[in-house]
Symmetry: C2
Subunit: 435 residues, 2 copies
Amino acid sequence: LSHYHLDDTHDPALQSWVDSANRHPDFPIQNLPFGAFRVEGEQKLGVAIGDAIVDLVATRDAGLLDAVPECHAALDAAVLNELMALPLTARSRLRSALSRMLRTESPEGIEARHDGILVQQADADMVLPARISDYTDFYASIFHATNVGKMLRPDNPLLPNYTWIPIGYHGRASSIVPSGAPVRRPSGQTRDDAAAPPIFGPSRRLDYELEVGLFIGGGNPLGAPFPVAEAGAHLFGVCLLNDWSARDIQTWEYQPLGPFLAKNFATTISPWVVTMEALAPFRTAPLARRPGEPPPLAYLTDADDQEHGALGVSLEVSLSSAAMRSQGVVPQRISQSSLSDLFWTPAQIVTHHASGGCNLQPGDLLGTGTVSGEAKDARGCLLELTWRGTEPITLPSGEVRRFLEDGDEVIMRGWCERDGFRRIGLGECRGVILP
Amino acid sequence: LSHYHLDDTHDPALQSWVDSANRHPDFPIQNLPFGAFRVEGEQKLGVAIGDAIVDLVATRDAGLLDAVPECHAALDAAVLNELMALPLTARSRLRSALSRMLRTESPEGIEARHDGILVQQADADMVLPARISDYTDFYASIFHATNVGKMLRPDNPLLPNYTWIPIGYHGRASSIVPSGAPVRRPSGQTRDDAAAPPIFGPSRRLDYELEVGLFIGGGNPLGAPFPVAEAGAHLFGVCLLNDWSARDIQTWEYQPLGPFLAKNFATTISPWVVTMEALAPFRTAPLARRPGEPPPLAYLTDADDQEHGALGVSLEVSLSSAAMRSQGVVPQRISQSSLSDLFWTPAQIVTHHASGGCNLQPGDLLGTGTVSGEAKDARGCLLELTWRGTEPITLPSGEVRRFLEDGDEVIMRGWCERDGFRRIGLGECRGVILP
């Protein structure tokens, strides 16, 4: 029994009366991601459609959501938490109502197009979509874990627990910022020379990490775990996530309790949350376990999840230096990978998180960890791509990069494509480094 | 220049018209800790005085806080965050007004005692004092770090970074509960036998950790660290904190990103926040650095802090088993230690946390880490006290403990005593283990 099924909202033939949606790479009528935006000083909830945003309060007040009264109260909030907390059935009915209302020629669509419910994205500022009470970061790519392990422990790259436990740790919620917010290079303690004292100063090995964020939908009370077969009901949707990392600070501070200041100076997320319903056509088989890799323990095993619990999201990272921008050179793609290459599925990640009784709450954010694939150009951070700086990359401007320089902009994109379905996308996650 | 100075609110001769305060071990008129309580279905802010609570809204509405109009709005909230966000000068004026109002014979006191501003603690339920957006746990006791290190790495107990960096990591905010809330024994993956697969089941090595929690007062914006000399303005007050820990889960999961499910099933805090102003008489010199231990780096060095930046808080842990309670045996004290034995001061901890640009917010909670001293009976957790279970302790009931059993209640207490000053206390932090 899958929580997310295909229905008429996924029909690739659907067209919207919002013209830009029909040629938009990310936000056609088959997607309908949720977000929060500011316009004229007011913060509101919306749904992306092409180049526009459906203003959800205006839509409700125009009577266009009369079919889903159970969702009405949640639309008044400034962030998505209350909407995320609604039962999956209510969220699905809201998606259906929005889809019908945005279709060309549907009775609802003919009415809606005259009701002034759209805001142009160019006229709005996107903000964080939810009040993120807790943020957790996982480490679900075995390729990333193996690459990092090879640099630290060449003889023993993958720790014994990796193939048994979805490794994760708590992150900092307060420093999560929306795409576009500049990121200040952090200072911290580093120690390159074990014979000399550490020094305190700006990080010289600043990195990005390409991740996907999972937003929690229905929560669970403290002390009440849930079975993996029910994990789907606890997930609301996904965004892109850049887990900015200061590698020199991390190396010196992380023993024995994990990364801390190396990560908590900023985490950037894309503003549109693509729902699990929208992703239903792109569910796929998880990465096959290789010889020597054990099957998951019973509490992480579900037949449906093992069949198509992974998400087929293509991901890419582009880099643009200040010099490239001043020369008019477009950003350079430096890696591409797939979310389906994770060792652990979203259902396993969320189930494990709550398995000891930890209470997850609507709006909580779970990062997947760096999404790296097996190929060299599928490595999701500079640490791996340049192999700790020993194999620098060259930009179109002729500049060389081992780690990020001031003025560098990192741009992440994600999208889903499959024969027989309309492509949908996660939009962009951008951030530029300030000195 | 110290942020916290002595004034007439610390006068040991002060008596209150609330009689129970004058003989109360923790909450005399010299203390005045803040908290949030529920009575008749309503949640309100209050100040502990003896066996009673000053209802702050009722006090304001009776005109007894007219001297501090800048604090009035913050008193309407259900939690202390807005009050914590007020400037230190406003918070100090509020303390002075409360002190004057509660004094025997003062004009304000004579008026106040007839205004019905008290609620008996026995009639109220204490709740979490603040909305804790982010919770961070440090590792500031060198005795604890050394003991734990000896068990894991006998040849190299203390890692090289320990004496340079206040080691910390992000914790889980959602599972923080107030004193008295029962704690369910968590399940999780453990692996005692490296030749066999791990198993998933209830933890068999459940432990407490005696800590003190530091509540953040004034916050700092993202990307804007502050100097250690200003750290005092960023601290609001302290509470007791029990960082419940499942040692068997921790051992198997913690590499390489730190403890996760071993800690996030519950963290218990005492409900009354003792302010930094109340603690002013008990500031003392930090633990002296021993030969081979470097002085702190410049960003963590402040002359005032090095002179009296530590807090002289005495701490103790008592244990009561279900059998002891049924036999009418009082809880057995199993350890006692002092907060002044930490290697890092509160100012160093909070300054380091923000030093890379991380934004701290009013109401954020920072645990000190297990407060252990050098003596064997000053070890702040069972892992140390029983040396990983190899030296079990015997309870008055004849029962033996290596780790916590179902039905065990852990009771933490903290207090400050100094010649020439009235003793004040932090109250209690209790929790009983459920199966």
